[in-house]
């Protein structure tokens, strides 16, 4: 076993293969545990971009380059995330797509930063991730503040909800988003009549929904993921609640409709960027992805864009050396399948657009795209 470990751990630095230079790119997301389906989706998105880049041929500094992906399971656990980050750094990756959760992304970003490895998260939304001030940290997803302010404002001004109930799942994602929505609702003159909580493992929301029903809100906002959002909307119908349901990007998934069935009809949720079908190349991406991996769970297009953004910076620098191409990342101006990607000074998505969707006839239909007013 020790020998196998040795061979596995060594000899992975950018090695030569038939004269082509092999460049390693890391991917980290939960591949086991309750969020494994989302983690695999990120991996698939990144892998597809990588394969396309390889197929098209990549030449840096006059040499043919073959990209290779090292994908690691961070189990959505902060401690494992740092171990994985160190492992990727050891293996000599020149950039990382990941991680999926904010809780894993934040501690890992410290390790990437101290080793000068650029990192683009396709899905971490916590404000704290880029607020730490690391030069290597970027994301191609709007943060909680951007998306939350759009959602809260939209609920009051466009959906005409006066009394709003807010539920979150007490994860970094759900609570972060719900707090920003609450702020925006109040700023827009709405009234938060109930603030309830659940967990990211629960499937029974009858008690909190009953309590919310007693306050007769016009709209229920849920900050959390689809496995909770779907039974929640079902139970709202069971209790005979008439309030609208609004969710964030965690709920705007095909799984939500699959799990909630007929109860999903009329539900609203947002996702950053523009609708995939409205983007140049978006529909084609979807067809290729579905043909290869099945449904898009959620963040695969963002992982796909993140990989392209990373390699585009290498192309501009004409080098895969992190020290050289890192300077090119802030200058990113890339037309991806999720939208127009540019970074602000912190590494956040500049002026990120947020699109609102509604379930109509069993599919998510885009309603409108709103620019987040920074």
């Amino acid at each position: 076993m020790a020998a196998a470990l040795l061979t596995a751990a060594c000899g992975d630095k950018a090695q030569q293969k038939d004269g082509d230079q092999v460049v390693l790119i890391g991917q980290a997301s939960p591949l086991t545990g309750p969020q494994a389906h989302l983690g695999k989706d990120n991996e698939n998105g990144a892998r597809m971009a990588l394969d396309e880049i390889n197929a098209a041929g990549l030449t840096l500094g006059g040499r043919k380059v073959v990209l290779e992906m090292r994908s690691e399971d961070d189990a959505a656990d902060p401690k494992t995330a740092t171990t994985v980050a160190q492992k990727l750094v050891d293996e000599g990756v020149v950039g990382v797509i990941g991680h999926l959760n904010s809780g894993a992304t934040i501690p890992a970003s410290r390790i990437y930063s101290s080793n000068g490895i650029p990192q683009i998260s396709p899905s971490a939304t916590a404000v704290a991730y880029t607020a730490a001030g690391y030069k290597t940290a970027f994301r191609v997803m709007t943060n909680d503040a951007q998306q939350g302010s759009v959602l809260g404002n939209y609920a009051v001004t466009r959906l005409g909800a006066k009394k709003i109930a807010i539920i979150d799942d007490r994860t970094a994602y759900g609570q972060g988003l719900a707090d920003e929505v609450e702020k925006a609702v109040k700023a827009a003159g709405g009234d938060v009549v109930a603030r309830e909580y659940t967990s990211d493992r629960s499937t029974d929301f009858m008690a909190i929904l009953t309590s919310i029903k007693g306050k007769s809100p016009d709209l229920v906002f849920f900050g959390g993921m689809d496995p909770q959002a779907a039974p929640m909307i079902k139970q709202m119908k069971q209790l005979g609640m008439k309030a609208k349901f609004l969710g964030g990007d965690g709920a705007q998934t095909p799984t939500f409709i699959e799990l909630a069935g007929a109860s999903a009809e009329g539900a609203l949720a947002s996702n950053p960027g523009l609708p995939l079908d409205a983007m140049p190349g978006g529909a084609a991406f979807k067809t290729r992805f579905v043909a290869r991996y099945g449904t898009i769970q959620n963040y695969a297009p963002y992982a796909y864009d993140a990989m392209h953004v990373l390699v585009a910076a290498m192309k501009r620098a004409d080098s895969s050396d992190p020290a050289k191409y890192l300077a090119e990342l802030p200058k990113t101006d890339y037309q991806g399948v999720t939208g127009h990607i540019r970074f602000d000074a912190k590494g956040d998505l500049a002026g990120g657009a947020v699109t609102l969707y509604q379930v109509k006839g069993g599919t998510w239909q885009p309603l409108e795209t709103v620019q987040s007013g920074q």
């Binding site: 060594c10 591949l31 959505a76 902060p78 171990t83």
Partner: protein
């Protein structure tokens, strides 16, 4: 006990061991890569935790499933007193003892109402206690922001001694000591301290009284042992080590959030001591090291598959935890007293089988 082979002089054995431990991170770095040095750091951290829990479960026989609460408290005290969260930046030598003491206090608070409970009832109460602490940490961001809730606390200070910053690489005698190498030595120092205290406790009146309580509480009380105080002392001692490890973890990670302190963590620490050999210091340390490194080593199953079959049949990430579960079952079936049991337990087990 007379031994057949002549034992080498103690000083020689000790200096060899010391040299080996000192050189270990460099050997591992050169042989396996830096991520394994980081894992070594974590293994030492878990050794401290396992030794702490060993006092409660292994010595005193109190099944504690909420041990992670003390670990969490130590980590949060460190984060509160040395991070931008409250703008406090106290030195680690002041913060670590504070965290450990607070954990000890909570150990007594948990112990006091549960003195009458035994076995599995104690297990579920301590499990509940662990969850209660985690839920409070996860929710105390409102009305007053104490813990920053699920967002966790970021940018926690690394260990600094004067101007010596453990998070920066240092040059010494031509060698570069990176942050994770230095952390290894720091953690090693604390681990050795905890081992020393554990050994002294084991051989003391207190240690023997704990064993008496573990074997038969009623008989222990009848021989004049103050079972109440001794049980509380076990909880407090275990919690102190937990709190200490928590502080070290916070400084090492630089970021903590409640999700690091869930029930599974308590269960893993318990697995370490049972798998290694309960109540036996080398066994417990061995268990901690094995269970920290094994899941990581299993990441390489993909490479092994490629070498053996030329392709990957099952995603290593999918296989990893399955093999881990199989390993837990297999070890218990073939070595139910642990991989490195103490002589006393091995005897007990042999008796029970008759």
């Amino acid at each position: 006990m007379p031994s057949l082979c002549p034992t080498p002089p103690r000083w020689l054995a000790f200096s060899l061991l010391a040299a080996g431990l000192a050189a270990l991170p460099f050997l591992v770095d050169a042989g396996l890569g830096r991520s394994w040095v980081r894992l070594l750091d974590l293994a030492l951290l878990y050794a401290i935790l396992a030794l702490g829990l060993n006092i409660v479960v292994g010595y005193a026989g109190l099944l504690d499933l909420g041990y992670v609460a003390f670990y969490a408290l130590g980590a949060y005290v460190y984060a509160w007193l040395s991070s931008p969260h409250f703008g406090l930046h106290l030195p680690f030598w002041a913060v670590l003892p504070l965290g450990a003491s607070l954990a000890a206090l909570f150990g007594v608070l948990l112990g006091a109402p549960t003195l009458r409970l035994r076995g599995d009832y104690l297990a579920i109460v301590t499990l509940g206690f662990g969850e209660i602490i985690r839920i409070f940490l996860n929710n105390l961001n409102a009305p007053v922001n104490i813990t920053n809730g699920p967002q966790g606390i970021n940018l926690i200070d690394p260990v600094r001694l004067g101007s010596f910053d453990l998070s920066q690489p240092h040059e010494l005698l031509g060698y570069t000591f990176t942050s994770i190498h230095l952390t290894y030595y720091l953690f090693l120092l604390f681990t050795l301290g905890v081992i020393f205290i554990s050994m002294r406790l084991e051989d003391s009146r207190i240690g023997r009284a704990w064993v008496a309580i573990r074997e038969d509480e009623v008989a222990a009380a009848a021989t004049g042992i103050n079972t109440r105080n001794l049980k509380l002392l076990a909880f407090a001692m275990g919690a102190t080590f937990g709190g200490l490890a928590g502080g070290l973890f916070a400084s090492f990670q630089g970021f903590i959030s409640p999700e690091s302190f869930n029930l599974m963590e308590s269960i893993m620490i318990l697995c370490m001591i049972v798998l290694g050999g309960m109540g036996h210091i080398p066994g417990v340390i061995f268990g901690a090291v094995v269970l920290t490194l094994l899941p990581e080593a299993l990441r390489y199953t993909g490479d092994w598959q490629r070498e053996l079959f030329g392709r990957i049949y099952i995603d290593p990430a999918d296989l990893r935890m399955l093999l881990f579960g199989l390993a837990l079952v297999a070890v218990m079936l073939y070595r139910p007293a642990g991989l490195l049991p103490s002589t006393r337990r091995r005897r007990e087990f042999a008796d029970a089988q008759e």
